[in-house]
């Protein structure tokens, strides 16, 4: 089989890349190793309304809930509230990823991409050292798909980059290991996302609750890998739920790893681009990855279309992608990496003090950056090394 570009992985990043490239007239194959796109979910499903809407028209079919804001709790229980329109970069819609991911793959299919499920990439095809497609296993049979470019959108467990000589392996401090329950409990507030901080609750991470309507919510947590131990996320989550909502009915359990390494050295090679979690483009502070992946996917699709039509799919031909994503989403990812490196070192006492310092301020109209600015003003000594982030 022969095409212009093969996209490995039909998550939000891969599907947007495939859709964009197909709309530009390329022959596109979008392969997904699972037999069902979007399932099992490995995600808390929260996204910003405004950013999502700039890339795709919101459809009630895949929106589980809309939230009004977020509540942030310090270890001692003190809290602040952020309103949706300002904390909107972090919350807004809670999606139904099983439907959302399939809808995006369908957009790619409607644009002309050939979607292949139960098709797992085994290796890159190479001719004289340069990438010429993907060897894959489809329905148990080995097939070769020749292409000028391979887009690796193969998630946290990405292999495409490694096969192309890009070391994407995550060190323990570069990954948040997570567990999540979809649960029903009367205490769930359908209108607010909640975040709980604390080294006892979730070392180097946080506990989240993202409502999905009618007292249903994704309640989960992440632990920084360097401070985790075998099975810790599931154990800690069970403890949290047993203590805070002993009557909860758990109807689904998922686990996963979220890259929090910040930007990696490079995300392109001759004939290869990486997108989304595979490119470690998830946000190191929030762990959010959907929108960055979609935005990177669109950029990748556009750059690949130009590269294929100009006949230069080498590193030089793909360099525009590297530049474009670093100048857009990359800046925020870098800033948030610095924030994460600082915040995972804080003790519970530090976190409590920070929360108390800001409680008397009106933060309801601030975004994360505005809040940080106030925090630095109120705690100049403690947060001195973060001042460059708000300049």
């Amino acid at each position: 089989m022969r095409c212009d570009v093969v996209v490995v992985g039909a998550g939000p990043g891969g599907s947007m890349a495939a859709k964009t490239a197909a709309e530009k007239g390329l022959r596109v194959v979008l392969m997904e190793k699972r037999q069902e796109i979007g399932d099992p979910v490995r995600c808390a499903e929260g996204v910003s309304k405004a950013r999502l809407s700039s890339m795709i028209k919101p459809d009630p079919k895949w929106i589980a809930a809309e939230v009004r804001g977020a509540r942030l709790y310090a270890p001692d229980g003190s809290s602040i509230v952020m309103s949706e329109d300002k904390s909107g970069d972090e919350v807004g819609y809670v999606l139904e990823r099983k439907i959302f991911d399939r809808a995006l793959a369908m957009e790619a299919a409607r644009a002309g991409a050939k979607v292949m499920v139960k098709t797992r990439a085994l290796d890159l095809l190479k001719v004289d050292g340069s990438v010429r497609g993907v060897r894959a296993m489809r329905y148990g049979e080995i097939i070769d798909i020749e292409a000028d470019v391979v887009i690796g959108a193969d998630g946290v467990e990405s292999k495409v980059g490694r096969w192309a000589g890009i070391d994407t392996s995550l060190k323990p401090g570069d990954i948040e290991v997570c567990a999540q329950f979809l649960l029903y409990d009367k205490s769930i507030d359908d209108e607010y996302c909640e975040f709980f901080l604390g080294n006892e609750l979730a070392p180097g991470g946080y506990v989240w609750s993202f409502p999905k309507g009618e007292n249903l919510a994704n309640v989960g947590l992440g632990v920084i890998g360097s401070r985790s131990e075998p099975g810790a996320p599931v154990k800690l989550l069970r403890r949290f739920v047993e203590r805070r909502m002993p009557e909860a009915r758990i109807v689904e359990m998922v686990v996963g790893g979220v890259p929090v390494s910040g930007p990696i050295e490079r995300t392109i090679a001759d004939g290869v681009l990486l997108v989304g979690d595979a490119a470690r483009q998830s946000d190191p502070i929030t762990g959010g990855g959907i929108l960055n992946a979609m935005q990177a996917g669109i950029m990748a699709g556009e750059v690949v279309a130009d590269a294929v039509s100009s006949g230069d799919t080498s590193v030089e031909g793909l360099m525009v992608y590297e530049k474009r994503w670093r100048e857009s989403i990359g800046k925020q990812i870098s800033r948030h990496l610095d924030l994460k490196e600082f915040f995972i070192k804080l003790s519970d006492e530090d976190l409590n003090n920070l929360m108390h310092s800001i409680q008397s301020e009106d933060v309801s109209k601030m975004d994360l950056r505005g809040m940080l600015r106030v925090l630095i003003r109120l705690n100049p000594k403690m947060l001195w090394e973060l001042r460059h982030l708000v300049m």
Partner: protein, 59 residues
């Protein structure tokens, strides 16, 4: 060698992402371990469900 307790594994692929030598693979609902495994134990430590173990007896 690394063994995977399939009754515990949540097939999330975190172990695959942290493997320094690309010795693991997530196939639908199970993890495959290849001969390239160097028994560093990183995947064992990071598994969210605690499904992986490094069998001492066979080292």
């Amino acid at each position: 060698m690394i063994t995977v307790n399939r009754y515990v594994c949540g097939y999330c692929g975190a172990c695959v992402g942290v493997c320094p030598v690309c010795a693991l693979e997530l196939v639908e609902t199970w993890i495959e371990v290849s001969d390239g495994c160097i028994e560093c134990g990183r995947c064992v430590k990071l598994c969210p469900t605690g499904a992986l173990s490094l069998e001492e007896a066979q080292r």
